[in-house]
């Protein structure tokens, strides 16, 4: 017994080292598997406040770019309004009668990006809206140009968001022109491009095809822009195309985002939960 204690004491530095490394790696692995480690992320209050102050300063340097983005988004919305088919009735009056907000499936919430990374293997954003504003983990996040990510944790006033630029974040998407489904996944490296996987070889693809969200999951609304095909190849023995997609969202200049709340998400997910086990 005595020699055991002596051994432990003699190796105390190494044992402390092992102990701390085990904790560290446990945190690393926990984070990879989307579980736990809830405390050490940037949505905790102190961390988020520091990031918030720092982003308040750096925001002034990007005002011009943000304005240009918002103007472009406004232009698109105006264009959609103008191009609505005339039906001989004032569309605005019809809208206000037939669509009342209790029929909405999606609600959106504007939030400011206070922290963003693009150059790491797995990237995250922090936004300045949290559980007090009704945000819960699992909600989708979209930007003015296209999809951005998914809420991972939320504290009272902040949330941390898994960016589309995360190697383990898979998004169900479709080619808009022919509604062929594929999985969008970022392969690390260049923040402007991601890969579209599992597009079978009989499908006809074209460079420039728009990739939109499929609506199969409850995170993103159907038909939201994800990117455009920039190049694709297929080798003779492959089942699936190798497709490179230019992402719609410019993650370098992302300042404001919208959190999408699917009001029917719970219903859809619980229905699927009930159904799926029957087949397995």
């Amino acid at each position: 017994m005595y020699s055991l204690f002596q051994f432990l004491y003699r190796n105390r530095a190494f044992l402390t080292f092992l102990f701390l490394e085990v904790i560290s790696f446990w945190l690393v692995l926990n984070d990879r598997s989307y579980l736990g480690a809830k405390f050490f992320n940037s949505s905790n209050r102190l961390t988020a406040n520091v990031l918030s102050v720092s982003s308040n300063v750096s925001d002034y340097f990007s005002l011009g770019k943000v304005n240009a983005q918002l103007a472009e988004e406004n232009r698109q919305l105006h264009e959609m309004l103008l191009n609505q088919p005339p039906k001989g009735i004032d569309p605005i009056r019809v809208d206000s009668v037939s669509i009342d907000s209790s029929n909405y499936v999606y609600e959106m919430l504007a939030a400011k990006v206070i922290n963003n990374s693009t150059r790491r293997v797995n990237n995250y954003l922090t936004i300045n809206k949290g559980s007090d504003d009704g945000i819960v983990p699992g909600m989708g996040v979209v930007g003015p140009q296209g999809i951005v990510g998914k809420v991972k944790y939320s504290s009272k006033h902040f949330s941390s968001v898994i960016s589309l630029l995360h190697t383990e974040f898979l998004i169900s998407t479709a080619v808009k022109r022919n509604q062929v489904y594929g999985t969008l996944r970022w392969a690390s490296g260049d923040a402007l491009y991601a890969d579209l996987q599992y597009v079978p070889r009989h499908v006809n693809l074209q460079v420039g095809d728009t990739i939109v969200t499929s609506g199969f999951n409850t995170i993103f609304p159907e038909g939201y822009q994800a990117g455009t095909i920039s190049e694709f190849t297929i080798s003779d023995d492959a089942t699936f195309y190798t497709v490179k997609v230019k992402l719609a969202t410019d993650f370098y200049s992302l300042r404001y985002v919208y959190v999408v709340k699917n009001l029917l998400a719970e219903e859809k997910d619980s229905l699927e939960q009930v159904t799926i086990p029957d087949y397995e």
Binding site: I23, S24, L29, R119
Partner: protein, 174 residues
């Protein structure tokens, strides 16, 4: 090591930590080279501090940096590794007459040669550990090693500049 040295060391921890998570986090040269200057105060902890206290400090400091980077455990693991290796390296680098009591880690007392042979291995080991744990595999071995090397050079240069600036004021080094 008197009290004012400990105060300026504590200040270095806070100032360089904040600099790391607000400014340097967003500063990446040529998509390859980032600066992890937060490691500097860890390397400047006085010689008389015990190995266990060193690792505990490294862990707590690393995990704080991790919360800002949204990478639980990565910085903590690398900082603990560096703190574990530190006493051994200092022993290897013992100058001819041994260390005087109260010797501080600085170029003025130990010379630039000593500082370089102390900083280069530890900074490089830290960065290699950091980038490989982040990558999670050896798939892009050379890219990851390249990033670690370029970043080590960046961190080393900034560390030496800070040491040089702080040098002339006797008794209140970082």
């Amino acid at each position: 090591m008197n009290r004012s040295n400990y105060i300026s060391l504590a200040a270095a921890f806070i100032i360089l930590g904040l600099l790391q998570v607000t400014v340097l986090k967003n500063l990446i040269l040529g998509n390859y080279s980032s600066c992890f200057i937060y490691i500097l105060p860890l390397l400047l902890i006085p010689l008389e501090v015990s190995a266990i206290a060193l690792m505990a400090t490294g862990f707590l400091y690393g995990i704080s940096i991790d919360t800002f980077y949204d990478t639980p455990g990565i910085h903590a693991a690398s900082a603990v590794l560096v703190m574990y290796l530190r006493p051994g390296l200092i022993r290897i680098l013992t100058p001819g007459g041994g260390y005087d009591a109260g010797t501080q880690i600085s170029a003025a007392e130990l010379g630039w040669g000593w500082v370089l042979s102390y900083f280069i291995p530890l900074i490089f080991i830290h960065h290699v550990a950091l980038f490989f744990i982040e990558a999670g595999n050896l798939g892009m071995f050379w890219v990851t090693l390249g990033k670690a090397t370029m970043s080590s050079i960046f961190t080393l240069v900034v560390s030496l500049i800070i040491l040089y600036i702080r040098m002339p004021q006797k008794g209140s080094r970082l």
